[in-house]
């Protein structure tokens, strides 16, 4: 049964892009290309760590974006609870930012443990920063799982906002308790415990441009994904309306 109403004809297939997002996308792509070239070929190897320092240029920006995403989610969730007339808009931003954040945090964890294997000799260490990051990751996977459950958008907004704000309470407590927990143990002997890197100008600049590039990519993804959620919500309403219209027409006949 084809339920497409007539007014769909005027819909363009431009997707969720606009002039501004295209410019944003082009700039981020250019920066990413520069980042890859500079990080892999132009920058020197580190005195202590050697070439493994090249993982830093992708790991640190990814971790930065991951935390930025969760701050964005928390702020947007707070706004969606307070500003009642714009709840759904803020909720979509919160959801989109959490989706992108989970991806970046997963990548930060993976690249971090690859880097850790090279510098520490182990993939994983139960140090406070890593453990807190892992718990943050799991928490937001749960947040996304709740968003997947099909309920009324208003209710979904309220519920997920509360979960996001509870995560803000949870993370400092997790961090603090892991710090306290680990302080009782002797540190496992590692090749280079602090992983200190001395950065020259080009390395610092590359790292900085990595942070900027990833932040722009994050912005691009969040803009598109929150518009995508809006599209999906609207599409569902239209589908429902037209189904009702078709049914009415059948009854009237």
């Amino acid at each position: 049964m084809n339920t497409a109403p007539s007014h769909v004809a005027v819909a363009s297939i431009r997707g969720t892009g606009t002039g501004a997002t295209r410019v944003l996308g082009a700039i981020s792509l250019a920066l990413l290309v520069w980042l890859v070239v500079s990080a892999l070929f132009l920058t020197p190897a580190d005195v202590v760590q050697g070439d493994s320092v090249r993982i830093m240029y992708v790991h640190v920006p990814a971790a930065w974006v991951a935390y930025l995403a969760f701050i964005t989610t928390a702020v947007a969730s707070g706004c969606s609870l307070v500003r009642r007339h714009r709840t759904l808009g803020f909720d979509r931003v919160a959801g989109a930012s959490a989706e992108v954040g989970v991806l970046f945090m997963g990548m930060a964890l993976v690249t971090g443990s690859l880097w850790g294997r090279l510098t520490w000799g182990t993939f994983w260490q139960w140090d406070p920063r890593l453990t807190t990051t892992l718990f943050l990751f799991i928490t937001y996977v749960g947040y996304l799982a709740v968003r997947q459950v099909d309920v009324d958008p208003q209710q979904r907004a309220r519920r997920s906002a509360v979960i996001a704000l509870l995560a803000v309470l949870e993370i400092p407590l997790v961090h603090f308790s892991v710090v306290l927990w680990r302080s009782l143990h002797q540190e496992a002997s590692v090749l280079n415990a602090d992983g200190d890197v001395r950065l020259d100008d080009l390395m610092l600049f590359t790292l900085f441009s990595g942070v900027v590039a990833f932040t722009l990519v994050f912005a691009w993804l969040v803009i598109h994904r929150q518009r995508l959620t809006a599209l999906a919500d609207t599409e569902r309403v239209i589908g429902l309306d037209s189904a009702i219209a078709v049914r009415r027409a059948e009854v009237a006949r």
Partner: protein
């Protein structure tokens, strides 16, 4: 270059997965966009 596998894997995984997400987002947006009239897209 020493540890080439680790370095390449880090970069490929990160950029690959981010690229994949971008691609999926654009394709899904195109698909949905054709079924929603322009006046209901605030950004158009």
């Amino acid at each position: 270059m020493k540890d080439l596998g680790f370095i390449v894997a880090s970069w490929a995984l990160t950029l690959g997965s981010v690229g994949l997400l971008a691609l999926v987002t654009i394709r899904r947006a195109r698909e949905l966009s054709s079924r929603v009239p322009d006046e209901r897209k605030p950004w158009v």
